[in-house]
């Protein structure tokens, strides 16, 4: 069970119903989710409710998660790959407060629903798991078109040439596609989505996955989905391959490894240690911990 004493509002929990939202709101959310699954990549508008955490902190993901959760679910919340970063902790505390019966976990393999900000877990997800993304900007076309009505028309017609022009301009200026995260990705051959600010490293995991990916944008009031076994192709040129972060040490030519667990197959956080040296560590805390535990057990 969750600790319940970490929220200032904790003592008021009893005032609120299961999963916070009123039942009509949850029903509407579920309808929107179904629609999003039926039209992969299409941004389904919904009447996003105000959550007791601020816009931008994951209110869209929270609403999707709250609409999904039932008392037998097991939920995991991560932010930047970590279960115990402040925002993840805060959201998990909110779920524990408002969803009695739902259990929490930090283990990727144990969760039925995982809410995430900025990462996809390293461990491949199964077909009985749902990954819910928190989305700040649902529309990849904002890069090239400020007007929302125009953008909707462009999506309908799959009119995405201007996104490619952006890539072209990037190539001209830098000889590289410089989009680092929120990499525009084409779903099922039609709609292009903003896969939320995940790094390029995580984008290939969207393609033909076993699990369901749901994206909730609270402030912008959109829900969209990449269903299981669906094509998800990052947009690029035929002769400019899409690449992911490689964490190559330019001095040695070798990949950096996690300083905790030694992993060389994970997305790494880079930061200076006390002595000012650059060190690397798994961004996915659960992955790192489980590797450490395996290593301890093996010894």
């Amino acid at each position: 069970m969750f600790p319940t004493d970490t929220m200032a509002q904790g003592h008021e929990g009893a005032e609120y119903g299961f999963a916070f939202l009123d039942e009509d709101a949850k029903r509407e959310l579920r309808r929107s989710i179904f629609k999003a699954v039926c039209i992969p990549g299409h941004q389904v508008p919904y009447a996003s409710r105000e959550m007791p955490i601020a816009r931008g902190f994951g209110t869209g993901g929270m609403q999707v998660t709250l609409a999904l959760l039932g008392p037998r679910d097991c939920v995991k919340v991560i932010d930047q790959g970590a279960d115990d970063s402040v925002n993840a902790a805060n959201i998990r505390a909110f779920f524990s407060l408002t969803c009695p019966g739902v259990s929490g976990t930090t283990l990727t393999e144990a969760a039925s629903v995982i809410q995430t900000r900025h990462r996809i877990p390293e461990l491949p997800l199964r077909n009985d798991q749902i990954l819910v993304f928190q989305v700040p900007y649902p529309d990849p076309l904002v890069l090239v078109e400020p007007n929302a009505a125009t953008r909707r028309r462009m999506h309908g017609r799959a009119d995405y040439a201007r996104l490619w022009v952006k890539l072209y301009e990037d190539m001209v200026a830098f000889d590289e596609i410089t989009i680092s995260h929120r990499y525009p990705t084409r779903i099922n051959g039609h709609y292009i989505i903003d896969p939320s600010p995940i790094p390029r490293y995580d984008v290939p995991k969207l393609h033909q996955a076993d699990c369901l990916y749901l994206f909730g944008a609270g402030r912008e009031k959109r829900i969209y989905a990449v269903p299981p076994h669906t094509d998800a192709i990052p947009i690029t040129f035929a002769d400019v391959p899409f690449t992911v972060e490689e964490f190559i040490d330019r001095k040695t030519g070798k990949r950096h490894c996690c300083r905790r667990c030694g992993a060389t197959d994970s997305f790494l956080d880079e930061f200076p240690d006390e002595d000012g040296n650059r060190v690397f560590q798994c961004s996915d805390a659960a992955y790192c911990d489980s590797r450490l535990m395996q290593q301890e057990a093996a010894e």
Binding site: T6, M7, A8, G17, F20, L21, D22, E23, D24, A25, E28, P45, A47, R49, E50, P52, A54, R55, G56, F57, D79, Q80, A82, S85, V86, N87, A88, A89, N90, A93, R117, H118, P136, N147, A148, A149, R152, F174, D175, E176, T178, I179, S180, H181, P197, P199, R200, Y201, R219, K221, R222, E245, R250, L268, D269, E270, F271, E274, Q281, S283
Partner: protein, 368 residues
């Protein structure tokens, strides 16, 4: 180690909550009463209800108390509370002619039917400190109250008034009110998909943040736009709220809400029927907030003009620009979110920068 300190966020949040609570209570003397907030800071209090989109005086006072007086945060409490409540019914449309008026002015006419009524306004008060307020007692409050009730002007002033603009309508200078039975757009149940009807425009602004509305309306007034408003009528008062009786269906009055309403008259325009007429801008919100009502009326007009001309010349005329940026809860939230960790995206940024720099540094690199 700094990085590890971020892990363990749960304890950090708990600690933060304790400090906030201490900040609210330490050395503050007697706890502030909810009534005191409601009565002694009515303008702040009703602003919170207006921006929170929920007319609940008691919870609005609690919100202000719990948020340490931050009006945006307080409005946020009301909004979040709304999300948990089912909708039990809908009120019928209300005619503000039935408003129990406490203040009404017109800048268009010196004499208006029923007369101007200055009411409570700081407009003509000098913003000079009354230092004696630093040291008021309960007895001072009683004295002022007794004096007000004891020396109220005699006579039977009516409490409801005709609308000033009806005179203009009678003369044909304003187009007649169009009968429209279309149910208003419900912004709490339907997201804004542009283009949106005017009712969505008005509803969004009615719970918009005062400062945001003011800034955009001011840009129009200063020359990034050309509404050139005249305040036809501004009224503040209490509007009876009726709902259909659950059994009989007959309208039943269940209370009243304080409302500020502003109708501005703007430059005239040609009509299909020939003779030119004035145009209108409408603003209304919960509570006593004249700046918000006027700003809203100006923006309502600005957006309508642009829609009519099919051309947007200024930000204040763009419905997307105005309506997507005036909500205080959303803008405040998104601004706040930048304080959250962005390690992963920043790591990805560094990767791209290094890649681009690597290309730039390669001596063999030839720009094509």
């Amino acid at each position: 180690m700094a990085y590890v300190a971020i892990r363990g966020g749960e304890e950090a949040i708990a600690g933060s909550a304790r400090i906030m609570d201490a900040l609210r209570t330490m050395g503050a003397g007697d706890p502030i009463e909810l009534d005191q907030i409601e009565r002694q800071m009515p303008l702040l209090h009703t602003k919170v209800m207006s921006e929170g989109g929920l007319y609940h005086p008691r919870l609005a006072a609690l919100a202000l108390k719990q948020s340490l007086g931050d009006s945006l945060e307080a409005a946020f409490f009301l909004r979040a509370y709304r999300s948990t409540k089912p909708r039990l019914g809908e009120t019928a449309p209300h005619d503000t002619r039935g408003m129990r008026v406490t203040r009404r002015v017109s800048a268009a006419f010196k004499d208006i039917p029923g007369g101007q009524m200055l009411g409570a306004t700081p407009d003509y008060l000098h913003r000079l400190f009354r230092f004696e307020l630093m040291d008021e007692g309960a007895e001072t409050f009683d004295e002022i109250t007794r004096d007000w009730f004891g020396n109220r002007p005699e006579g039977t002033r009516p409490t409801t008034f005709p609308k000033v603009l009806d005179t203009l309508r009678d003369e044909g200078l304003l187009p007649p009110l169009a009968e429209d039975d279309t149910p208003p757009f419900d912004i709490t149940r339907t997201p804004l998909i542009f283009p949106v009807p005017r009712s969505a425009q008005l509803a969004t602004m009615a719970r918009g943040e005062t400062g945001g509305l003011l800034a955009l309306a001011y840009s129009n007034m200063r020359g990034y736009g050309d509404v050139h408003p005249t305040v036809g009528e501004l009224r503040v008062g209490y509007l009876p709220v009726t709902v259909p009786h659950p059994v009989t269906g007959k309208p039943v009055e269940i209370g009243e809400v304080q409302v500020t309403e502003c109708e501005i008259v703007a430059m005239f325009e040609k009509t299909d029927e020939g003779a030119p007429v004035f145009t209108l801008g409408y603003g209304a919100c919960f509570g006593h907030n004249e700046v918000k009502a006027i700003a809203m009326a100006v923006l309502d007009r600005a957006i309508s003009v642009a829609a009519q001309n099919g051309r947007i010349n200024n930000p204040s005329e763009d419905p997307e620009f105005v309506l997507l940026h005036v909500d205080g809860i959303e803008s405040m939230g998104f601004c706040t979110h930048y304080k959250m960790p962005h390690y992963v995206t920043f790591q990805a940024d560094m990767d791209r920068l290094r890649a681009a720099r690597g290309k730039a540094e390669e001596p063999s690199h030839v720009s094509n």
